[in-house]
């Protein structure tokens, strides 16, 4: 993965284009529930945040985790349990869920970042399998039944989340906050170092960066935001279940980021929307959803390794370079 630095002249144009794009997308998200089934949109937003969080370590950090479902799922369980059994107000339940996922992220990260490549993927897989079997056995998750009938409650005591529209805008707000944190991180000096580590870790070390610390911080942040997505999902669907801690969910988030474009800002969002839309509207075809997912997976690996957004960026970059060329 070689990233070329854009010529200075295009940077200004691009950031202006980026601003316009952001405004358009946010406006679209604001009116979307009037046109599309809001519960579906909320699901897409939760997965979009999850994929963006995953992208932070996989796309920018170059660490392909195969166990992110552990954070997503356990945070969901803890939030559901806190809201239902402990009777916590919704916002506090989410905070507790995110905290639990973050602690898990610290442990996972501390263990896993010592390894690279496929070994890193395997360690995270092993750790997340432990969480899965723990969730299968421990009484509070109610095994196969999941934690059901989780109350949505009132946010800050006065925003009634049982209204679907209200819930939608809260989820949208959570997504935007999460997305902003990720965007800020990527474009900070911290994000630049992360990218440098991805491209060439020995070089980053020789430049004096303690790369393990950077990787650990990125991993924990990613785990925390994945937890936020999982906690929100359990409130939206009023249910926390084994599906969300299963390794196939880890695989799904990899697929989402890959389709959209690993290491691009908007890629995971696009991937998540594409995949949830497919699952939703192809559900009537039963198992064929799995088949189509598999086909997309295979095609992406074989032909479109930079993903949808990555491919578009490539085209744009080439065109802007062609335009800029005569002037140089």
């Amino acid at each position: 993965m070689v990233t070329t630095v854009a010529p200075v002249a295009t940077v200004g144009r691009r950031s202006r284009a980026g601003l316009v794009l952001t405004i358009v997308l946010v406006a679209l998200a604001l009116i979307a529930p009037l046109l599309v089934y809001p519960v579906f949109l909320m699901k897409a937003l939760c997965f979009a945040l999850f994929a963006c969080a995953f992208n932070l370590v996989a796309g920018y950090g170059g660490l392909l985790s195969f166990g992110h479902a552990a954070f997503f799922g356990s945070a969901g369980y803890v939030t559901a349990h806190a809201a239902k059994v402990w009777g916590f107000p919704t916002e506090l339940a989410i905070v507790v869920g995110v905290l639990a996922g973050t602690v898990l992220g610290v442990v996972f990260g501390w263990i896993a970042i010592r390894r690279q490549g496929i070994y890193f993927a395997m360690v995270t897989l092993a750790l997340s399998q432990m969480i899965y079997f723990y969730a299968l056995q421990v009484p509070f998750t109610h095994g196969e039944d999941g934690i059901q009938a989780v109350p949505r409650g009132h946010l800050f005591g006065f925003i009634d989340l049982n209204q679907t529209m209200t819930m939608y805008y809260v989820v949208l707000a959570i997504f935007l906050i999460g997305f902003a944190i990720i965007f800020r991180t990527i474009h900070s000096p911290f994000g630049q170092v992360l990218k440098a580590i991805r491209e060439n870790e020995p070089r980053a070390i020789s430049l004096g960066y303690r790369t393990e610390r950077y990787k650990l911080v990125a991993f924990i942040l990613s785990a925390a935001l994945s937890s936020l997505a999982g906690s929100t999902k359990s409130i939206v669907f009023q249910l926390a279940s084994l599906t969300d801690v299963h390794w196939s969910t880890s695989g799904e988030v990899v697929l989402m980021s890959l389709i959209g474009g690993l290491g691009t800002v908007l890629g995971p969002v696009v991937g998540a929307v594409v995949l949830t839309t497919m699952e939703n509207y192809l559900a009537q075809f039963g198992s064929w959803v799995t088949v189509i997912q598999g086909v997309i997976f295979v095609l992406c690996v074989l032909t479109l390794r930079s993903g949808i957004v990555g491919a578009i960026e490539d085209v744009l970059r080439r065109r802007s370079r062609r335009k800029a060329a005569p002037g140089v």
Binding site: I118, A121, M122, V123, L125, A126, Q293, G294, L302
Partner: protein, 292 residues
Amino acid sequence: MFGIPIQALFGQLLLGLINGAFYAMLSLGLAVIFGLLGIANFTHGALYMMGAFCAWFLLNLFGIGYWPSLILAPIIVGLFGILLERVFLRWIRNIDHLYGLMLTLGLAQIIEGVFRDQYGSSGKPYAIPAELTGGYNLGFMFLPTYRAWVIVLSMIVCFGTWFLIERTKLGAYLRAATENPVLVQAFGINVPRLVTLTYGFGVALAALAGVMAAPIYQVSPLMGTNILIVVIAVVVIGGMGSILGSIITGFSLGLIEGLTKVFWPEASSTVIFVIMAIVLLVKPSGLFGRAS
């Protein structure tokens, strides 16, 4: 001993050994493929399932029973594996291993999705061959003949594979080809063909395990998904690519699982992954792997 009846202890250990036989057979194929081709073959579970289904088809469509299936199914599925390697895996040989993981995961989804659409997720029964019904009363438990057969046959297959790769000339070429393909090619050996055949062989091992599993676990489209992750754990613990490592680890993890079922049944599924994480931390190349 610790208030645990000796009957339960030996019984669970024996059952663990039976599970271990499957772990060993499957991880063996996976290790061959990983060691020689560098692909973490997530399609392995789906191919194991195809082996079982192949036996089921042979029986229900052509009236071909268990014994011929034991030979035919691995050949058929092995050829299918060769097709997969030619069409898909060839293209990702020189890029990051992680793409191999994702590609094979996608292929597994396709295969399993097609079978699930056709046959649902509940199992299809496959009868134990008449010669192997009944069982032995061992005193501490009743051992069905078929399960004893599984242990014996898998040990023979495992040892045979180890011998083929570690002790014959063909195996030596194979190992050399993975170390330095260019040099081996220079000796006049067709390396790409060697690679294809190796993949086919690994797949055939998975299919054989599938045929052996059919009478025990029934034939179900999901049987591969359920066992795949455990088998990957076995390969990682044994050392990715280590033949002997996979065999020993496969059988011993089965035993450890059985032992855990006696003393702490709730943890029996988790224990494998605890071991996997510890091994990856302490000796990432695996118990029997060469440090890379």
